[in-house]
């Protein structure tokens, strides 16, 4: 089938499939198998139990909050990095990668120390009645940190490719700055922006390490889904752990599909614009 004269297709393909099968697909299949073993009725009972529902709600709403913050901040950051020249630009660009490179547990202890009542940030926030550490806001803070690079890194290349002539054309037609941004620039970066937001949201849904240090982990209030899976494991309630983890796996697949659909759409979008 391969038309090239290059060798090694079977070997490379065989190794890849074997590896993906053993390392990635086998465990996921085992997880789904375990969850299916519960039977539909019990599965539904487990994942719609009060504590599980509360954990899903906390996770989804915190992830939405973190994504909203990163949508605004990430767009601003990408804009500054692409459109402006300023001292420290390269450093700022490098700093964007810190949340990807820094282990989540390290981020967790650092954020907890910052937001604790006597911490650098907490000492100013708590007198104002804003409690972050060991409170729902802490989950948002942790998720915001770990998913910070996604919007920036998605929007940056698209913003870079935008040429000045479209903006100039709009300007000669008499459009104001806000109008040009809303009518010309934002539509062009919108698919990439949406993809970045989806990636940030997906990452936040699954975040564990950074969150558990700062959240306080009270059932019904600051307990995320990933932690509930962990707790069920420690209680040797493996079916419940499998069921909740399967819901998280399903959500991850849905987000993956969404991101892929957005990327396909953006490809067509840029082609039809060209």
């Amino acid at each position: 089938m391969p038309r090239t004269i290059l060798p090694g297709f079977r070997l490379a393909m065989g190794c890849t499939l074997l590896y993906v099968g053993v390392i990635v697909l086998l465990p996921l299949a085992a997880l789904v198998w375990q969850a299916a073993d519960l039977g539909w009725a019990r599965f539904v009972t487990v994942v719609t139990g009060d504590r599980a529902l509360a954990a899903f709600r906390v996770t989804v709403f915190s992830a939405l909050g973190a994504t909203a913050i990163n949508a605004v901040f990430g767009l601003a950051l990408a804009w500054a990095l692409v459109r402006y020249d300023f001292p420290g630009k390269r450093l700022l660009d490098a700093l964007v990668d810190v949340p990807f490179a820094l282990p989540t547990a390290v981020a967790g202890v650092a954020l907890t120390a910052l937001f604790a009542g006597n911490g650098w940030y907490g000492q100013f926030l708590e007198p104002l009645g804003i409690k972050v550490a060991y409170a729902p806001l802490g989950i948002v803070a942790a998720m915001t940190f770990t998913s910070l690079p996604f919007v920036v890194r998605s929007v940056q290349p698209v913003l870079e490719d935008l040429t000045a002539d479209v903006e100039e054309a709009a300007e000669t037609l008499g459009a104001g700055q806000a109008r040009i941004f809303a009518g010309v620039i934002f539509p062009a970066i919108f698919p990439a922006f949406l993809a970045g937001c989806s990636l940030a949201f997906a990452r936040s849904l699954g975040e564990f390490g950074a969150v558990i240090f700062i959240a306080g982990n009270q059932p019904f209030r600051t307990e995320i889904a990933a932690l509930l899976v962990f707790i069920r494991l420690e209680e040797y309630d493996y079916p419940a752990a499998a069921a909740i983890a399967s819901v998280m796996l399903g959500a991850a697949f849905l987000m993956l599909l969404a991101v892929n659909a957005i990327q396909l759409w953006s490809l067509r979008w840029t082609r039809s614009a060209a």
């Binding site: 090239t4 297709f9 997880l31 990668d97 810190v98 949340p99 490179a101 820094l102 202890v109 699954g206």
Partner: protein
């Protein structure tokens, strides 16, 4: 990036400084703050205490276990990344999009989900657990499980870095080498890999950072046995829960240092590789 250009949208005298101030403040609070406090907290009691915290036997053991995990997981995933990128970049076949998605799948999956999934394969109640147990092979809550979970979490990193470079470069140089009589392996070693060396290096560095820092997946499969199966991130959690914050932050400086080195490696790679410079 011409120095002189017409002012564009967002270059206004109020908007530009306001946006820059917002971005700088946000970056300082969200990124620099967390980095800084790790080192401040670790060194608060002085260098002597810091060093003695690092030299605590359990922490030293955790560092050793973490390095040992990376020593296996990084080369394996580098090999996998090269094989996957070779198959996907150099050949046309049906289902290519699906295979690419499968290779990237671990990115989308919560580390906790990955850890639990492994438990159901190798754990006592898992598919292979009882058989392995009967054979006297311990996978779960031991070194092999830590390596397996790390492999899962970092499987896509190398492939994702080298695949775009390979696709961009095409196969002309490889075909030339082959027509001159070089063997397939020789072509891979002397043509393909040198062409993607910077992306490969960065992929390996990224894999290493993630392996050493992985928390969620490893905390499920390792059992967190103090001084036995605790990797460095787990040790940080343990010290933190023991109210030994200085010890936790001392251990955290090691991982934060690795993260900073990873970012420096990225800058170096971007500078060395004109194709990648953004």
């Amino acid at each position: 990036m011409s120095a002189k250009r017409r002012p564009r949208v967002g270059d206004g005298p109020v908007f530009r400084p306001a946006l820059l101030a917002f971005v700088m403040l946000g970056a300082a609070l969200l990124i620099v703050g967390p980095l800084l406090i790790i080192f401040v907290e670790a060194f608060k009691a002085g260098l002597g205490i810091y060093l003695s915290n690092l030299a605590a036997p359990d922490t030293v053991h955790a560092i050793g276990l973490t390095v040992l995990t990376a020593l296996v997981a990084v080369p394996v995933n580098v090999a996998f990344g090269i094989a996957a990128a070779w198959a996907i970049a150099k050949f046309e076949f049906p289902g290519k999009g699906l295979l690419t998605a499968l290779v990237e799948l671990p990115f989308s999956i919560s580390p906790i989900v990955a850890g639990v999934a492994y438990l159901f394969v190798y754990g006592a109640q898992g598919w292979f657990g009882p058989t392995l147990d009967a054979l006297g092979i311990k996978v779960m809550f031991a070194y092999p499980a830590i390596v397996l979970a790390s492999l899962f979490v970092t499987a896509p990193f190398v492939a994702r870095e080298i695949l775009p470079v390979m696709q961009q470069q095409g196969s002309d140089e490889e075909e030339a080498a082959l027509s001159l009589g070089a063997s397939g392996w020789r072509t891979l070693w002397s043509v393909t890999l040198p062409n993607v060396r910077w992306a490969l290096l960065y992929g390996a560095v990224l894999t290493n950072a993630r392996v050493m820092g992985e928390f969620g997946a490893v905390s499920v499969v390792s059992g967190s046995i103090r001084g036995v199966t605790n990797t460095l991130p787990l040790q940080i959690e343990l010290l933190y829960q023991d109210y030994n914050a200085p010890g936790a932050f001392a251990a955290a400086t090691v991982l934060a240092g690795i993260a900073l080195l990873t970012i420096v490696a990225k800058l170096v790679v971007e500078r060395m590789d004109p194709d990648r410079a953004g």
